[in-house]
């Protein structure tokens, strides 16, 4: 047996391979692009070795690894040379609650590096542009990069904190700057507007704006990711090629949900919404999500993430009844207030020919029900951060404030 797995999220991009021959196996793992390190283990019999290897593979799948081959073929499609399809797993953002405090380490599987005018431009990384208290050079840096011909082949950009010393500043100016020079970014396939940690600016204090001009300006865009719900809008939610939309908020406005529900994204495969709580601006209810759950809106959807939600229990109750279950591969309720009530609903998930994975990381489910969930014929991640107490009556979503 030989199995090659890969993992990607906002923190890292790595691989894990296992090669089983007879009564021993060799595991090789490391960062994507490196040779990694290997270790070999031997067992008394072939059966024991096989059993141990299967256990390890299951463990890795539970942690979010996927088969490398599947990840690549997801991304192959009818891609031409200048139109590379990003693998589905590379759309993943933060998987673990504890990673929220850090800036993106990787984006679409590539290492993120802050742009520096003084250094030569590299092709193997994704550049991040941001301000901090002392340095307000976001737009000058961006314009410096766009003047370089390396921009012409760049696939991805990360925009970090843009507010500088004015915490109410929106990214409008920078979006104008990007869209007015769209000819310098003809291959832009992925953009993250808001790689901002709580230390830089709390998620619910980030001032956003209408992000749909990016959709109109970049026809090859496959992934639009953003953080921050205040002022966020998608006034013209239309894009022929968009495959992934990820909106991270501490409280999502019903107007954004309405825009998504009236959108025209015929090729959307990945939809990740951080719904948040009413304390930080969430003014929607489960019924507002109905068009998304009806399954008609995004016929190609493979991943649905309704994360960081105070309504996770209620949403789970509706999702298990929805036709969506027969089409998607991954269902993600992580970072939210999922309790035994939502868990009981998920135990009623009907058999689905497509559904493979249930992500419930950070939850308020009791040990007994977690055990029952793990018996479902799916890969179930029901892990909890170590600081979550079992009998804590005080409940909150993972990312608020």
């Amino acid at each position: 047996m030989n199995r090659k797995l890969v993992y990607m999220d906002a923190k890292s991009s790595k691989f894990w391979n296992i090669d089983l021959t007879g009564s021993s196996f060799t595991v090789t793992y490391g960062r994507t692009g490196s040779d990694g390190q290997s270790s070999t283990k031997s067992f008394p019999t072939d059966e024991v070795a096989k059993k141990e290897a299967d256990k390890l593979v299951k463990e890795k799948l539970g942690k979010g690894y996927v088969d490398a081959e599947a990840a690549v073929s997801d991304g192959a499609g009818s891609a031409g040379e200048t139109n590379v399809l990003i693998p589905l797993i590379a759309f993943s953002s933060i998987n673990r609650r504890e990673d929220i405090g850090e800036n993106a380490g990787t984006f679409i599987g590539k290492r993120v590096v802050d742009y520096d005018m003084e250094k030569p431009v590299r092709a193997d990384v994704v550049y991040r542009f941001r301000t901090d208290w002392e340095n307000d050079e976001l737009i000058p840096n961006l314009e410096h990069f766009l003047a370089n011909d390396a921009a012409l082949s760049t696939m991805a950009l990360v925009i970090g904190a843009w507010h500088g010393d004015d915490s109410e500043r929106t990214p409008e100016e920078l979006i104008q700057s990007l869209t007015s020079k769209k000819d310098r970014l003809p291959n832009l396939a992925a953009i993250y507007v808001g790689d901002i940690t709580s230390e830089e600016n709390e998620i619910s204090w980030i001032h956003q704006c209408d992000l749909s001009p990016l959709l109109a300006a970049f026809p090859k865009l496959q992934l639009l990711r953003s953080r921050g719900g205040m002022g966020l809008e998608l006034k013209s939610p239309e894009h022929e090629n968009l495959r992934a939309l990820a909106i991270e908020t501490g409280g999502l406005d019903v107007g954004v949900i309405r825009s998504i529900c009236t959108s025209n994204f015929p090729n959307l495969e990945y939809l990740e919404l951080w719904l948040g709580t009413d304390e930080y601006g969430a003014n929607h209810n489960v019924a507002d999500l109905q068009p998304i759950l009806s399954g008609k809106l995004f016929p190609k959807l493979k991943y649905l993430g309704l994360r960081n939600s105070h309504l996770a229990d209620e949403i789970a109750g509706v999702v298990v009844n929805s036709p969506m279950i027969g089409r998607i591969e991954t269902l993600d309720f992580s970072l939210g207030m999922l309790t035994d009530e939502g868990a009981r609903a998920l135990l009623k998930l009907p058999a689905s020919p497509t559904l493979k994975k249930l992500n419930l990381h950070f939850n308020y489910i009791s040990a007994d029900l977690i055990k029952q969930l793990k018996a479902l014929p799916l890969t179930v991640d029901a892990s909890k951060p170590s600081d979550m107490e079992e009998d804590d009556e005080w409940r909150f979503v993972a990312v608020g404030e």
Binding site: D313, G317, V320
Partner: protein
């Protein structure tokens, strides 16, 4: 007249003074909360959400009405739902005169909220699997037909329901929003003051006491008599029971002068005398001003 109107997003007609809408309307969301609307055009098309909360004059809805979700909270003139209604979410909270279900329709996958629909006496058999079913306060509703299933919960608080059909066996229960078990919901005679007082969760304890009945609870819990006197109904007592991590339960036990029935009426814990408690219930903060000529 104008031709067909297509609205891509939300059509905001809140507090509209007109009683009807023009034909040819097609929108994602129509919100006519607090409007004077009496009925909707037969050809109305809604892709997502229909909100008609607090429409005092709303009398009927068009046949075959279809929407992702429909909210009809507080529509007192609405007596019937139309034939062929189809939706995932229906909220009819406090539609006090609603009583007539269509013979066919589709309400499934989402939530059916019938809170305080005091006119309904039955649920239709064509309802399939829902996420949540709320019939709290449906005082005339005696049973839920077999075939209805839920993935989340059923709220039966204060309804006439005395048990669940086979299709709902084991479904999580709620009593006006509080998670309860089958005993609390359907076998209150088995509840004891001891278990009520031992319950840590204040909300759940409140429901257990309400289900037991205050009189039985007060007797079993060994309530302290703070004050006693006589009124036209006979002997009156002000009773007090200490509850942990909650304010004490203080209430007036009295008899109705007309029917002779005994009641336990909860009052604020600061009340010291029966007279003060009776005055508070009549709306007097100063008990010396409360001198009833006659009590019936």
């Amino acid at each position: 007249m104008c031709g067909p109107v297509r609205v891509k997003g939300r059509l905001d007609l809140t507090e509209l003074q007109q009683e009807s809408l023009p034909p040819g309307l097609h929108c994602y969301e129509l919100d006519a909360t607090k409007s004077q609307i009496k009925n909707l055009p037969a050809d109305l098309r809604i892709d997502g959400r229909l909100v008609l909360d607090n429409c005092q004059s709303l009398a009927s809805l068009p046949e075959g009405l279809t929407a992702g979700s429909i909210s009809l909270r507080d529509c007192p003139s609405l007596r019937a739902l139309p034939e062929g209604l189809s939706t995932w979410f229906l909220d009819m909270t406090a539609c006090s005169h609603f009583e007539m279900w269509p013979t066919r329709g589709t309400i499934h996958h989402g939530a059916l909220i019938l809170r305080n629909c005091i006119g309904i006496r039955s649920l239709p058999t064509w309802i399939g699997r829902l996420a949540q079913l709320n019939v709290a306060g449906c005082t005339q509703l005696g049973e839920i037909p077999d075939g209805i299933a839920v993935s989340s919960w059923v709220d039966v608080g204060g309804s006439g329901i005395t048990g669940l059909p086979p299709s709902l066996q084991g479904a999580p229960l709620r009593w006006r929003g509080v998670r309860v078990d089958e005993r609390i919901a359907f076998h209150p005679e088995e509840l004891t003051a001891k278990e009520a007082l031992a319950e840590k969760n204040a909300e759940l304890r409140r429901v257990i006491i309400e289900r037991m009945g205050y009189l039985r609870f007060a007797a079993e819990a060994g309530a302290k008599v703070i004050d006693e006197d006589q009124d036209r109904g006979g002997a009156r007592q002000l009773l007090r029971i200490e509850l942990r991590e909650d304010e004490p339960l203080v209430g007036l036990s009295c008899h109705c002068p007309s029917t002779g029935r005994q009641y336990f009426l909860r009052v604020p814990p600061k009340m010291k005398t029966c007279h003060q408690a009776a005055a508070w219930m009549a709306g007097y903060d100063d008990p010396s001003l409360y001198r009833p000529q006659i009590e019936t």
